[in-house]
């Protein structure tokens, strides 16, 4: 099932946050986006969601985050809590949730609850992220949930 709704990117400056507890994955995604979108002002990476929340005053237009965070930090909030807090503080932030295949159901529930976008963490994930960012930057309409078929 696909739900369509509309987003518009307000800031002139393109700032992207990546919240991901695998440093290898975060750095790879950061470098990938930097290469594909040369006009992006800044891409910051965070190992835990709380650090991202502390930097929200930079007004990121997109936050990309793994649904299951906090591998080494027992006290840190999970992805859903962080998403809710971002949406409370910055309701117009575009949030892209990355999640592994076995977590599809819980991730889709998050998408429904919090008005964000979902991409399955597989071999096509980076290309899908590129596509989504491109659409956000171009203010096009796009589905909130990728096709699961």
């Amino acid at each position: 099932m696909e739900t369509e709704f509309f987003k518009s990117m307000s800031p002139e400056e393109k700032i992207i946050f990546i919240v991901e507890d695998s440093e290898v994955y975060a750095k790879s995604l950061q470098t990938f986006i930097q290469n594909r979108f040369l006009d992006v002002k800044e891409i910051k990476t965070f190992r835990i969601g709380e650090m991202c929340l502390m930097e929200l005053h930079h007004n990121p237009c997109i936050v990309i985050m793994d649904y299951f965070l906090n591998s080494k930090y027992k006290a840190a909030d999970n992805g859903l809590e962080i998403i809710k807090r971002i949406k409370t503080q910055r309701p117009f932030t575009n949030i892209i949730v990355l999640s592994a295949q076995e977590e599809v159901e819980v991730a889709l529930e998050t998408v429904k609850q919090t008005d964000c976008y979902y991409i399955r963490k597989d071999k096509n994930a980076f290309n899908k992220v590129e596509h989504l960012i491109s659409q956000i930057f171009n203010r096009n309409n796009f589905p909130a949930i990728e096709s699961l078929n």
Partner: protein, 125 residues
């Protein structure tokens, strides 16, 4: 079988084509990611070994989950099912002996991956 051959050492555990693709074939960027991997994986292994020794299931689960992302970038597909099984067992907080066995395999394969990447890195200078 391919898996057995890989585990016994007859073929590479890493496939760097995915990394090369997402980095647009740029050697300096590929090397940068390799360096992050070479730094991160020993730290993650140390953490997961400690957690397995203490039977700290929530941390084993979280670390195994994180490592799935890390190893996917280096195309270490053989580790996917091993890490997933660790996640599943740790989620149920059971069968620590099985987790220890899987963790042993994880360590062996990661050591081989590290060795392969250290060697491959020379081609990306």
């Amino acid at each position: 079988m391919k898996t057995d051959e890989t585990e016994s050492g007859t073929e590479n555990v890493c496939s760097l084509s995915y990394l090369s693709e997402i980095m647009g074939g740029k050697k300096n960027l590929i090397k940068e990611i390799m360096d992050v991997f070479l730094k991160q994986i020993p730290e993650e292994l140390q953490c997961i070994n400690d957690s397995v020794a203490k039977a700290d299931y929530p941390i084993v689960k979280s670390l195994a989950h994180t490592m799935k992302s890390s190893v996917s970038i280096m195309g270490i597909s053989i580790l996917g099912p091993i890490l997933q099984e660790m996640v599943d067992l740790a989620k149920e907080a059971e069968n620590i002996e099985k987790i220890k066995g899987l963790n042993l395999k994880l360590n062996q394969i990661c050591m081989r991956a590290i060795s392969e990447i250290e060697t491959a890195k020379h081609s990306y200078v």
